[in-house]
Symmetry: C2
Subunit: 156 residues, 2 copies
DNA sequence: TATAAAATCACCCTAAAGTATGAGCGTTAA
DNA sequence: TTAACGCTCATACTTTAGGGTGATTTTATA
């Protein structure tokens, strides 16, 4: 507790001690020079030098350092997996909900048969849907359709 | 030239002027208090206060600011839409140069026939290549191959 | 130089994909 | 209510893709 206090107010304590010491020196000087009765100027000059030094020492000791905050840019690669469907493009092409659904499953690499099973409809239905999708996207193959749909932001 | 000199040594000049003023004040005080013959302590105290202040002022004015540089990391999101091929994955799967080439054209939606024309080889060759690609990627269809290759960063 | 891997091509066959046409049914908007 | 549209399904046919096997040539590497 006491040690903590000492550590915390070290500067103040040193300053106080120094001041006390100086006052003692002053008193001594006073006696010395008054007795000698010579030159108040020397006394004053000494005082000036000592207290100027003290002031400088104090300022240096107590002045809080100016913090210079520097922002360092750190490059962070963020996996930008945010897909936003281009609804305008979707409407422009006139793709129906079901057709888009089929297109998405196509993009995942499912066969027409697998898509049919997934959507609980017949293979022929999927063929019809995929045919319409190709027509609307103006392509001939599913790989083309998937590629174009990705570029048009219809699927992720 | 003169103005420049004044500007450059402004602090020193101010200090000199201040010192001169203080000496003048001292002289005046000397006269004042000597005449009054009272308390050298007040005189000394005033001197102490004045010169301590002067010291502090000097230190603050002339000392180069103690800068404490703090580095703060600032995260910058870099949008990386540039494709970097995962060569480790490529080597792991053992895909040959030609096979990767075929895979890329597949991803663009080309038919085997078109790929054959593009690469100046026969349709049968492309079939062989694509077959090996499917085998190495452990898939059955080209759409699957394209999907998987994109996820594995083998193609953009 | 011997050898392995890559690249090329062919033939055959099956599976899947794509095209064309027609039709039934439910919803919705003019 | 009728016309349009979306979703469903079917049949028939063509094209493309995929699987299997085998062979030759080129290229890289030990």
């Amino acid at each position: 507790m006491t040690l903590n206090f000492l550590a915390k107010h070290r500067s103040v304590i040193i300053y106080g001690a120094s001041l006390a010491a100086l006052l003692f020196v002053m008193k001594w000087l006073e006696w010395r020079f008054i007795i000698a009765d010579n030159s108040l100027e020397i006394y004053a000059g000494a005082l000036a030098v000592v207290f100027t030094s003290l002031g400088i020492w104090l300022a240096v000791k107590l002045m809080k350092p100016k913090t210079n905050t520097v922002f360092v840019e750190k490059e962070v690669i963020i996996k930008t997996n945010d897909f936003i469907l281009d609804e305008q493009e979707l409407n422009r092409l006139g793709l129906s909900k079901r057709e888009l659904e089929v297109l998405q499953l196509m993009a995942e690499g499912l066969s027409n048969h697998q898509i049919a099973e997934r959507l609980f409809v017949s293979l022929n239905t999927i063929k019809t849907h995929s045919g319409k999708v190709f027509e609307k996207l103006a392509v001939q193959r599913r790989t083309q359709a998937v590629d174009k749909a990705k570029k048009l932001r219809l699927i992720p």
